[in-house]
Symmetry: none
DNA sequence: AGGAATTTGTGCGTATGTATC
DNA sequence: AGATACATACGCACAAATTCC
């Protein structure tokens, strides 16, 4: 047997795995939801139980599913969104600090010509905001969200952009790449920000990707290194 | 069938996986070694091919094995050490660049009072070096290795410090934490380095930990952001 | 408490697809 | 082109954990 529906298609177990991921991303499968039994799902999908189990193993490896012998398969999405970002953060020089943000503007714009290239279209939503730690402004940030999504509404933005990605866009951030250096502070800097326009400040440029590999976010952050530090952590800290 | 040799033992595929890991650890299976075919190994171990494949999948997930369809299964031990570091690197602004290093000095010293605290003792080995990309000096670096190890010999240092950790000290780096900001370039800076002493430059402070959690390395890197960028990547890039 | 039913985990064997040599 | 070797997929039997009556 082992006949594929269409020759040279993706393996069935990958197809099933991705289909389930889309269900999760679309919100049809939510945290804690229990899937039907493997026997039933396999019958529904028209595949062998062993093949389905490979798809489920894939989801488990991605941290989206918990499998409990004798009980069932349960969706686990919480912790996913923060999992990557919790290791990339802005904190006070002495450590810690309660992070908040204040949105300055939200506009659909032409993409910037400088900086890293991202996405496919010409335009994107640009968000400019101040980042605070314990109420003190420590950084200036510009975030670009690739268009194609409905335009970002200012009221939609939560304190955590990553919850916004998950809740409003249904996107789980799977990977992040930061480029760190020094750059001139842009002239839209506010007096509330410690470093003035044109001055050089520590700078982080970031590309965030979804599970599917598409660039979801491109951001630039300038911060006052006398007030804050940028921390990247990997592996056992 | 599916009879276990001893009741309530570990699953066969785990037993096989761990046995292979011990073979690797003992040096009987070295980097690049090709395993016998799955059919042969399964026969040798007295298990089904499917069960062996589960064991091999486990090794692959641990990064110890590369499986190549149509070719064979190959031991991959290198890349373990680099696995954490490959996501934290200095690269040319346009990307890439061949990294090398030039050691300036190696001395046992009192630990620095400024900067992050690390280790337990009073003294540590201090290494100062220049970092190059494609032969061009782009960064200045100071590395502290906690004492208690035999004193570092200059001749021992390889181009890659992480190979040095592994080969000379037998330590695998399990975790890294970086703090990024801007700092004044120290006065031991050399003219060969793009940014002069006392000037502000992009700066990365790093703590590296062993599997056991002990701090193995503390380093400070100043780099010329017109020549290089520091990249941190996590998850799917 | 206890036993049956349910559900996932382990293991075997086989046939066929596909990449490498 | 043929042989070799790993990848996918099917189906079955039994073990082990959980759930339910």
């Amino acid at each position: 047997m082992a006949k594929l529906a269409t020759p040279s298609a993706l393996p069935r177990y990958i197809q099933i795995s991705e289909r389930l991921i889309r269900e999760i991303a679309a919100g049809r499968l939510v945290e804690g939801a229990r899937l039907p039994t493997e026997k039933d799902m396999a019958a529904d999908f028209g595949i062998a139980v062993g093949t389905l189990r490979k798809a489920l193993a894939d989801l488990e490896a991605k941290g989206l599913l918990e499998r409990i012998q004798g009980s069932g398969n349960y969706i686990r999405t919480s912790g996913q969104v923060e999992s990557v970002y919790s290791f990339f953060r802005l904190e006070r020089v002495q450590g810690g600090g309660l992070p908040t943000a204040e949105v300055l503007s939200v506009e659909r714009r032409q993409k910037p010509s400088d900086g890293l290239s991202f996405g496919t279209g010409e335009s994107a939503d640009r968000i400019r905001r101040l980042r605070l730690l314990d109420g003190d402004v420590v950084a200036l940030e510009e975030i670009w969200l690739d268009a194609g999504q409905p335009a970002v509404q200012r009221a939609d933005l939560s304190e955590s952009l990553y919850l916004y990605f998950k809740d409003a866009l249904g996107v789980v951030i799977a990977g992040v790449e930061d480029r760190i250096g020094v750059a001139n502070v842009p002239d839209w800097a506010d007096v509330r920000f410690g470093v003035g326009p044109g001055q050089r400040a520590a700078f982080v440029e970031r590309l965030s990707r979804s599970e599917a590999g598409a660039v979801v976010e491109y951001s630039r952050t300038w911060f006052d290194e006398t007030k804050a530090r940028y921390v990247a952590r990997m592996g056992k800290g």
